[in-house]
């Protein structure tokens, strides 16, 4: 299978996808997070999240404590802790927000007021793959809007809806800061670059099969000097659908 939507396909570039993405350098992500200032670097959007999972237990409790230790007051940990709740459950319910308020000893209304300001918090469950297509100017000049339409068409969804198989939710987003690689598409914690209309079906197939991990060697003619942690083709064991009614 062709490796769709990867910046390495244009340019004078001969590194593998893992090398470009730094997968080997970053290594496996510890659930309990890194020890010091890197604690907030763990992704908070991924396919394995479980809408019913308990919040802030086990390794997540440890991460919460580390996060708190990095700020002069509890309130400042609000975004990182919301991120954590979002990572665990895949979206922020009223109840999750209240739990965060409780942890930080803040008024629930204050937490909700902040959470609703930021666009990255899903306030209802989404598909396992949240496909966010940039249609802002630099991408749009090169067909961003058409790519967005193609994603809707091939997943058979309306914007924000979960596809019937629970795999995809497609949304239009503002500039992703990858304007040199149009169209930029973010899927969970991963960017796909240079996505064009023709590449959309391939990309959706790849996501279903491999998730968002780098798939080294899948590109035609690519070398396979992978430095990744060798998990490029791992399939997620827990393919729990996060609800179908949208």
């Amino acid at each position: 299978m062709k490796n769709p939507g990867w910046a390495g396909e244009t340019g004078e570039f001969d590194l593998t996808e893992s090398e470009v993405r730094g997968a080997g350098y970053v290594g496996p992500q510890p659930t309990e997070g890194w020890e010091h200032g890197g604690v907030n670097a763990v992704p908070y959007v991924h396919a394995d999240s479980d809408p019913d999972a308990p919040l802030f237990q086990g390794p997540y409790r440890k991460r919460l404590d580390t996060i708190m230790s990095r700020y002069p007051n509890k309130r400042a940990a609000l975004l990182p802790v919301l991120n954590l709740a979002h990572e665990i459950r895949g979206y922020l319910s009223q109840e999750s927000m209240d739990a965060v308020a409780h942890e930080l000893e803040e008024a629930p209304a204050a937490v909700r007021g902040v959470a609703t300001f930021y666009t990255m918090y899903n306030r209802r469950p989404v598909g396992r793959h949240l496909v966010q297509v940039c249609t802002n100017v630099a991408c749009n000049l090169c067909g961003g809007h058409e790519v967005f339409e193609a994603f809707l068409q091939h997943t058979g969804t309306e914007p924000g809806q979960i596809s019937e198989d629970g795999e995809f939710t497609v949304m239009e987003v503002e500039c992703l800061g990858a304007c040199g690689f149009p169209t930029a598409v973010q899927v969970n914690g991963r960017y796909f670059e240079n996505v064009d209309v023709a590449g959309v079906p391939d990309l959706l197939a790849r996501l279903k099969r491999h998730g968002v991990d780098p798939v080294d060697g899948a590109a035609e003619g690519a070398t396979s000097t992978s430095t990744s942690n060798g998990e490029g083709t791992k399939s997620k064991s827990k393919s729990k659908s996060t609800g179908g009614e949208g």
Binding site: E12, G22, W34, R75, Y118, L141, C175, C179
Partner: protein
């Protein structure tokens, strides 16, 4: 080899590690002389260090171009409590994609620059505010922070010199406005990302009501090189008022889009036609946005012979901003792109100021109508009126940014207005409006 293209006329100081996965690691960065500047800086007198940065003439790369050394000198010399350095890694300006590359290829370069800055300004905590969408760069930076701690380069008693500096990564959650420095401070404090009224200025009362300085990623990436080689060395490139090299991030209708590191003052024509291989599919140039979507649009004619430095671009009626060059060919539907940019600002307005909240939404609505062929000459008048009312009347310049593309489009592309609204009856274009 850089990512994804390089050119022999580039001067690769900040970007020399691009395309080499080894540069990400502490070892790889050290092989390029990494952390030597930190060691040197910690042995220097703080005032001397700030003077060195001043003498380099380095100007902030986050858009405004304010001299970095001068900004650093505003911080209290005798701290009464904690002081902070914030790294602005919120990069959300449409067209800008340089900080992402700097973080994913050379995270230690940024961290080293920040440690030097924190030492010079007596800040004991550095927060790196990375936009929430940047998971990949955030992981790379996060790993680099952990490496720096493990090697005794961050945390307590750095390099045994008795200096303590904490470094913490902080992810945003999707809001362009958090790139504005006071909004960023509110967001860091766990509040809505709404800009604050100045004064007080951040150096007096910033994050957590303590003296704070905010610098862009690229600004801090230049610091280790300046400290190691001296301010005069940095001045060998660029112009008197815009010294040094700068990342130019080119997007849109060119053959080879990408990041190019150039001496400031580089000819804009050469950037587009030589480095980027000209306009794709053999088409002609129509317009260029030289500094991200917040600055006035320039026509193909205005680009001819233009030098890409802060002063020259300002003289041409626009701004160099983040040097995010968006190139549009002769088949571009300008009203569609202007409408899309204005929709962005309408979406991202934080809603505090009425002119911005209402004005950006009206402009988007009117532009949608004009795009659909239902506009009238009065609509153009209304647009001009709204532009005037949102410029210089609000807490931050987001609304001014929304007006810039609209005004410059109306002023510079009269054929669009003629075609779309059937003439310019009654349309009064204020002189010099597009440079507001």
């Amino acid at each position: 080899m850089a990512y994804p293209y390089t050119h022999e006329r580039e001067i690769r100081v900040l970007s020399r590690g691009f395309g080499d996965p080894a540069t990400r690691t502490l070892d790889g960065w050290r092989k390029l002389g990494g952390y030597e500047a930190l060691e040197k800086a910690l042995g220097m007198d703080r005032e001397e260090l700030i003077e060195e940065v001043k003498s380099s003439g380095l100007r902030g790369r986050g858009g405004a171009g304010f001299p970095t050394g001068v900004k650093w000198s505003f911080m209290p010399k005798e701290p009464k409590g904690p002081q902070y350095l914030l790294i602005n890694a919120d990069e959300s300006e449409p067209g800008a994609f340089k900080d992402r590359e700097l973080m994913r290829w050379t995270p230690h370069q940024m961290i080293e620059g920040a440690l030097i800055g924190a030492y010079a300004m007596r800040a004991q905590h550095v927060y790196i505010y990375v936009r929430g969408e940047f998971f990949e760069p955030a992981q790379i930076v996060g790993r680099a922070i952990e490496e720096a701690y493990a090697a005794g380069l961050a945390g307590k008693n750095i390099l045994d010199k008795g200096v303590d500096i904490e470094v913490t990564l902080h992810l945003g959650a999707g809001a362009y406005i958090c790139g504005e420095e006071t909004a960023l401070m509110n967001s860091l404090e766990g509040r809505r990302g709404q800009p604050r009224i100045k004064p007080p200025f951040p150096a007096v009362s910033g994050a957590f009501a303590k003296p704070t300085t905010i610098n862009n990623v690229e600004t801090l990436c230049a610091i280790p090189h300046i400290v190691k080689n001296g301010g005069a060395w940095f001045r060998q490139w660029g112009t008197e008022k815009s010294p040094g090299t700068k990342m130019f991030n080119v997007s849109g209708h060119v053959v080879r889009r990408g990041n190019y590191e150039l001496a400031l003052g580089f000819p804009m024509d050469d950037l587009i036609y030589d480095m980027c291989g000209g306009i794709r599919d053999g088409r002609k140039l129509k317009a260029v946005i030289p500094g991200g979507s917040s600055v006035p649009i320039l026509t193909a004619q205005e680009i001819e012979g233009l030098a890409a430095d802060y002063e020259s671009v300002a003289q041409a009626g626009s701004m160099l901003g983040t040097a995010s060059v968006i190139v549009m060919d002769d088949q571009t539907n300008m009203v569609r792109q202007v409408r899309r940019m204005v929709e962005f600002y309408a979406h991202e307005s934080c809603g505090q100021c009425t002119p911005c909240r209402e004005g950006t939404a009206w402009m988007a609505q009117i532009l949608r109508r004009i795009e659909a062929g239902q506009g009238t000459p009065e609509d153009v008048d209304t647009l001009l009126g709204v532009c005037k009312n949102v410029t210089g009347t609000t807490i931050c310049v987001l609304s001014d940014s929304a007006a810039a593309p609209v005004l410059s489009w109306i002023q510079k592309f009269p054929e669009d207005i003629d075609r779309l609204v059937g003439g310019r009856r009654g349309v009064q274009i204020p002189a010099g409006a597009a440079t507001a």
